[in-house]
Subunit: 169 residues, 2 copies
C-alpha cells in the first residue's frame, strides 16, 4: 500500500485549512449575533500563557506552507503576522491554501529519506522528508487547528467534530 | 517520494500514544503535588457539553486501534470504557500500543484505494484506505490528543509543545 508523501501531506492540509476557514465563518456569525468585536475573538486564549487564537491560526498556516515549500524545495513565502480579526485570519488561510495549490506531486517527488533541517537561533531539527511529515508537520498542524477549535467551542460557537473533519464522502 | 501507508499511520500513532502517556505522567505528578484526586483529573472538561478527559483518551485510543485493525484487516480488540483515573487511562494507552505493535507493514500492504467502510447505527462512512488515514484517522486522533493537552495545560500541568510532539532526533 504505497502512497506519495505529497498525498498524505499537501491535499490533507488544504482540506484541513478549508475546514478551519469554514469554522471561522461560524465564529464570525456568532460574534456578529452576540455583538462581540472580531479583535476580541482573535485574542481568545485558553490560559494566559498560551498563544491567542490569532497565533494558533498563524502557526497552523506556517506549518502548512513550510511543509509545502520544503517538500517541493521551493522558497517558502513570507507572511507577516499582522492579522487582528477573524476575516483577516481567513485571508491568511486563503493565501496559504493558494500557495499549497501551486505545489505539484511531481515537485515533491524524490527520496523520502533525504534530510530536511529546520534551523533555529540556537539549534536545529533534522528530519527525513518522511519523519518531517509524520513527526512534525501533521501533529503540529492538527495541534494548532485543534486549539482554534477548542477556543471557539469554549466561547460558545456552535461547532462539532463534523466541522473539524469536514465532509466525509 | 513513495511511502507505505503503514509508515504514515501505525508508527506515528505509536509515537503519539507514547507521548500522551508521558504527558499523563506529568499530570499524575501534578495531581499528587496538589493533592487532586485522579478521578477529578479524569473528569476535566473544557465546557460542560464536551467529552471529559477520560473520553478524549478513549476516543484517541479507539481511533488508533481501529486504524490498525482495519488497515491490517484483522479483528479490532474490544476495550471497555471503564477507566476513571489517570493511571487507568495510561493502561488503556499501553494496551492500544501493544495491539498496534502486533501489526506489521506486510499486513497492511495492498491496494490503497480499497474501500474501508465504518458503519454507524444510522449510516456509514466510506473511505479508501488512503483517505481513511488522511481524512479521518490522523485528524481525529490528533484532535483528541490535543484536547487532552488543552485540558491538562488549562489545569496548570507544566507541559509544552515538546511534550506533545515528543523528542525530535
Amino acid at each position: 500500500m504505497s502512497v506519495h508523501l505529497y498525498d498524505v501531506s499537501i491535499p490533507p492540509l488544504i482540506r484541513a485549512l478549508t475546514n478551519m476557514s469554514a469554522i471561522l465563518d461560524k465564529a464570525i456569525a456568532h460574534a456578529a449575533a452576540k455583538k462581540i468585536d472580531s479583535t476580541t475573538m482573535a485574542q481568545l486564549r485558553l490560559i494566559p500563557d498560551m498563544h491567542p487564537l490569532s497565533r494558533q491560526v498563524q502557526i497552523a498556516c506556517d506549518t502548512a506552507k513550510g511543509a509545502a515549500g520544503r517538500l517541493a524545495n521551493v522558497e517558502i513565502p513570507k507572511h507577516e503576522d499582522t492579522e487582528t480579526t477573524l476575516p483577516e485570519l481567513q485571508a491568511r488561510i486563503a493565501k496559504t491554501v493558494d500557495f499549497l495549490r501551486t505545489i505539484t506531486a511531481a515537485q515533491t517527488a524524490g527520496d523520502e529519506t533525504r534530510t530536511i533541517e529546520i534551523k533555529f537561533p540556537n539549534g536545529s531539527w533534522k528530519f527525513t522528508a518522511k519523519s518531517y511529515v509524520t513527526d512534525f508537520v501533521l501533529p503540529n498542524f492538527y495541534f494548532h487547528d485543534s486549539m482554534l477549535y477548542a477556543l471557539l467551542r469554549k466561547a460558545g460557537v456552535e461547532i462539532g467534530k463534523g466541522d473539524f473533519l469536514g465532509a466525509i464522502a
